[in-house]
């Protein structure tokens, strides 16, 4: 049981990832799909941030007087922090592109349901063939 609580952030991250994934697959509304995607990404950041933590340590920002005799055990791992930063930037950019794609789709088809959009296109195709 104690192990379970020690790894709680990781369990939470994995469950969140599953929730995001199912949302992405099941939601009909495109905006909801994007929310699912963001939950998925955020869960990965939680996972990474949890991985970087070391017990009884602080953020890896040293003071100028310590230079030359820094003990790495006093600080958390800086690598996951860098990875999370990259991940956040990527997810922000992707979300922006997706949202503008939704704006255009909504202008074009007056709906946010991807199935309906495909349905409309099929109908257009059939009329084209006639």
């Amino acid at each position: 049981m104690s192990v379970f609580f020690a790894n709680l952030p990781e369990y939470a991250a994995m469950i969140l990832f599953g929730i995001g994934l199912s949302n992405l697959m099941l939601a009909k509304n495109l905006v909801k799909k994007i929310i699912g995607l963001n939950i998925m990404d955020t869960s990965v950041y939680l996972f990474l941030a949890a991985k970087g933590y070391v017990e009884n340590s602080v953020a890896p920002i040293v003071s100028a007087s310590d230079l030359g005799h820094i003990e790495h055990t006093l600080y958390t791992n800086p690598v996951p922090a860098g990875l999370v930063l990259t991940g956040i930037v990527v997810s922000v950019s992707v979300t922006a592109v997706l949202l503008s794609l939704i704006v255009r789709l909504n202008e074009e088809f007056h709906t946010l349901d991807i199935d309906e959009i495909i349905h409309i296109l099929r109908k257009r195709d059939r009329e084209d063939l006639k």
């Binding site: 020690a6 790894n7 933590y53 100028a64 820094i70 055990t73 990259t86 950019s93 949202l99 503008s100």
Partner: protein, 254 residues
């Protein structure tokens, strides 16, 4: 099979898939190293190097900034390019100025513009200088304290949006034109790419570069990290502003 049945089948399949996925991942996490232990595989010589040698070598007291802008600068260059190409994609999708007249742009804008609420406007006016200052502070001190180009740039971008909503588009667009956006972004990214190409070239070929660490702890130290942070902040804030303006009205004023 009719549509409803198929939808239900799809939903059930997805749910089962998700549950299987979550259980597999929980099982995996269970088998992975425990959190927070000092003898985990990721606490190795790489991490030790970044924390112990990094600050002295790069001059950046913030080991994360030192890592992403010095040792892993290629990643960060790619990251700024992600922002750039996503702005390009948003432009491809939403840009209508040049084809549409200014009146159309204004009409589109009116659909989305918030009403001129006096309380919000006044609060924004009070907040804008403080937020700007905060963003600039975070950017300039990225190598000394928590922060850096990305977070500082996001705050400056937010300040630009606040400014826009407090004073209205006309005042903002007196200085924020499409030309300014393009020139500033290009200049910042070009500086980043060229400066880093130089250090990649010198680094890989074992030549000396002019980059010096300076006195760690001063604002003007840590070689290229400070200018790169400023470039990143410029790119981030400009991208945020341009995305907002694209989604709001589809173009800059001419």
């Amino acid at each position: 099979m009719n549509k409803e049945k198929r939808d239900r089948l799809y939903a059930v399949l997805c749910t089962v898939l998700t549950i299987v996925f979550i259980s597999v991942m929980l099982f995996t996490v269970e088998k992975m190293p425990d959190l927070g232990r000092a003898d985990n595989p990721d606490i190795n010589e790489v991490m030790e190097f970044y924390v112990e040698e990094g600050p002295e070598e790069t001059g950046a007291l913030n080991a994360v900034t030192g890592m992403i802008l010095h040792y892993r600068a290629f990643d960060t260059l790619g990251e700024s390019c992600v922002l750039f190409v996503s702005a390009v994609c948003v432009f491809i999708l939403l840009r209508i100025d040049g084809e549409a007249s200014n009146d159309t742009l204004v009409a589109i804008d009116r659909r989305y513009e918030p009403t001129d609420d006096p309380i919000l406007t006044q609060t924004f006016k009070l907040l804008v200088p403080a937020v700007f200052m905060f963003g600039i502070y975070i950017t300039m001190n990225g190598h000394l304290s928590p922060g850096g180009g990305f977070s500082g740039g996001a705050i400056i971008g937010a300040a630009l949006l606040l400014f826009l909503n407090a004073y209205g588009l006309e005042k903002t667009e007196r200085f924020m034109s499409s030309q300014l956006y393009r020139r500033v972004t290009t200049m910042a990214l070009c500086f980043y790419a060229v400066a880093k190409s130089y250090t990649f070239y010198t680094g890989a070929n074992g030549l000396d570069s002019f980059e010096g660490a300076g006195t760690p702890g001063n604002i003007l130290s840590a070689g290229l990290i400070l200018p790169l942070n400023i470039c990143v902040a410029v790119v981030v804030s400009m991208t945020i502003y341009s995305m907002y303006i694209m989604i709001r009205k589809g173009g800059f004023n001419k």
